[in-house]
Symmetry: C2
Subunit: 248 residues, 2 copies
C-alpha cells in the first residue's frame, strides 16, 4: 500500500458522535491511509462496511489496555495504525492510555486526531446549553471513587457551572443519576433547565428538555448525554439556551 505517512505511526482518532458527516476531514483521511484499525467491536463493525480492505482488530469493554497494546505492537511491526474512539480521542477516549503505554514501544510515533465529543454534539441538538463556563463529569465509578464524583458534582453546582454528564447510567448504577440530581439540587433550583440526548447523530436519536426535578425521575441509559443548566439557562423556542450576558 502506498502511504503518505511514515510507518510505525499510531493515530488515536476521534470519530465524532456517529454520522460520517460529523467526522473531520483529517479523521477520514487518516482512516483512509492506515493499514490497521483497532477499536471497540461495535465501531469496528461499522467501519468495516465503509473500508472493507483494511485489517481490523478489536477488544471488548474493560480490555482497553489490551486494545492499545495491540495497536502499538502492530505499529511497531511497521504498520500505520489507527485506534478509533467514539466522540473525541482525548475525552474519556484512548489517547491517554496509548500515550502512557508508548514507553514500551519507543519506536512508535503517536498522534492524536481530535473529534466532536458528545458534550459538543449533544449541545448542538439541544440548542446552546454550553454558552458559558461548564464542567464535564463522567458518572462511571469503574475507575473513579464515587466520593470524588460526588465532590465534583457538588462543587460544580455550587459554582453555577453548566454541567454535562457522560455515562449517566448502567445496569449496576441504575440510581446514580437520581443521586447526582439530589447533590445538584443542594445548590441548583428545582426548575433549572436540563436536557438529554440519546444516540447523538445516530438512528433513533432522541432529545428531551426538562427541569432538574424531572431529570431526577428520568430513565436514561448509557448511550445518553445529560446537560444541567446554570442559573442563566432558559428555554427559547423549544431549545435549551444558556445566556452569556449580552444586552438584547
Amino acid at each position: 500500500m502506498e502511504c503518505a505517512f511514515l510507518s510505525k505511526r499510531c493515530f488515536v482518532v476521534g470519530m465524532g458522535p456517529g454520522k460520517e458527516s460529523q467526522m473531520t476531514k483529517e479523521a477520514v483521511s487518516v482512516i483512509e491511509q492506515v493499514d490497521y484499525v483497532v477499536g471497540y467491536p461495535v465501531y469496528v463493525e461499522l467501519l468495516k462496511k465503509a473500508f472493507p480492505e483494511k485489517e481490523y482488530g478489536s477488544t471488548p469493554m474493560r480490555k482497553e489496555k489490551e486494545r492499545c497494546q495491540l495497536a502499538l505492537s502492530e505499529a511497531a511491526k511497521g504498520k500505520d495504525v489507527a485506534v478509533i474512539c467514539s466522540g473525541d480521542a482525548g475525552i474519556y477516549g484512548m489517547a491517554g492510555l496509548v500515550l502512557e503505554l508508548q514507553k514500551d514501544y519507543p519506536e512508535v510515533e503517536v498522534e492524536i486526531v481530535p473529534g466532536i465529543t458528545a458534550a459538543v454534539s449533544g449541545a448542538a441538538v439541544l440548542g446552546a446549553p454550553l454558552m458559558h463556563d461548564f464542567a464535564v463529569i463522567s458518572m462511571s465509578d469503574l475507575l473513579t471513587p464515587w466520593e470524588k464524583i460526588e465532590k465534583r458534582l457538588r462543587f460544580a453546582s455550587e459554582a453555577d457551572f453548566v454541567i454535562c454528564l457522560y455515562n449517566p447510567c448502567s445496569k449496576k448504577r441504575a440510581d446514580y443519576l437520581k443521586k447526582a440530581c439530589d447533590i445538584m439540587l443542594e445548590s441548583k433550583t428545582d426548575d433549572t433547565v436540563c436536557g438529554y440526548v440519546r444516540q447523538i447523530g445516530r438512528e433513533g436519536q432522541e432529545a428531551e428538555i426538562l427541569t432538574l426535578k424531572e431529570l431526577r425521575e428520568a430513565r436514561v441509559d448509557m448511550f445518553t448525554t445529560v446537560f444541567i443548566g446554570n442559573s442563566q439557562t432558559e428555554i427559547r423556542n423549544g431549545k435549551m439556551v444558556t445566556k452569556r450576558g449580552y444586552r438584547l
Copy 2:
C-alpha cells in the same frame, strides 16, 4: 443557485481551530451550499479566498448582536445563511445569541453545526490532558463579573478538575492569568502539570508544557488556550497526560 436546503435557514457553524482539515464534512458542506456567510472579519476574509462566489457580511468584536441580527434578517429575506464561529458554534460562540434573537424572526429556522472547540484541539496538541473530568472557564470579564470567574476557578480547583482556560489574557487584563494561578494554587500544588497552546492548528502554532508555578509567570495572549492538570496529570514522553486510573 440550486440548493438542497430549504430557504430561510440560518446555520450557526463551528469552523474548528483553523485548518480546513479540522472542519467536519457537515460544516464544509453547509458553507458550500449557503448563499450568504456572516462572521468576524478575520474569518470572513479567510473564507472569501476559498469561496469567492458567496455573499459576505461581517461585524467587528463587541458587535456580536448586530452580526446575528444581520444573519437572521438576510435569512428572513429567503436566503440560506451561515454564521461562522471559530472552534465550536455553541462554546462561547454565536449559537446562543442566534437562538435568543430568533424570536424576532419567527419564519427563520436555526440549525447548530458543531465544530472542534479549542479545549479539544489544544488537548490533542499537548497530549491527553482532558482524559478525566474537566471544567472550561473563560477569563473574559466583559460579560461575566470577575467574582463569578474567581469562584469557578476556586471550586473547580478544590474538586480536582482539570481546568481549561479560554481567553486567558488581553491588554486590559494583563495580570488575570497570574491572579487565576494564585487562586488555583490555594488547592493545587506548585508542580501541577500545565500546558498552553497558541494559534492552535494555524501557522505559527506553539505549545509549551510547564508547572503551575511557572504558568503564573508565563506571558500568554488572547490566541492561547491554557490547560491546568489535576492531581493525576503527568508528563509522559514530553506530552501532558491525565491518568484515568487504568492499572498498567
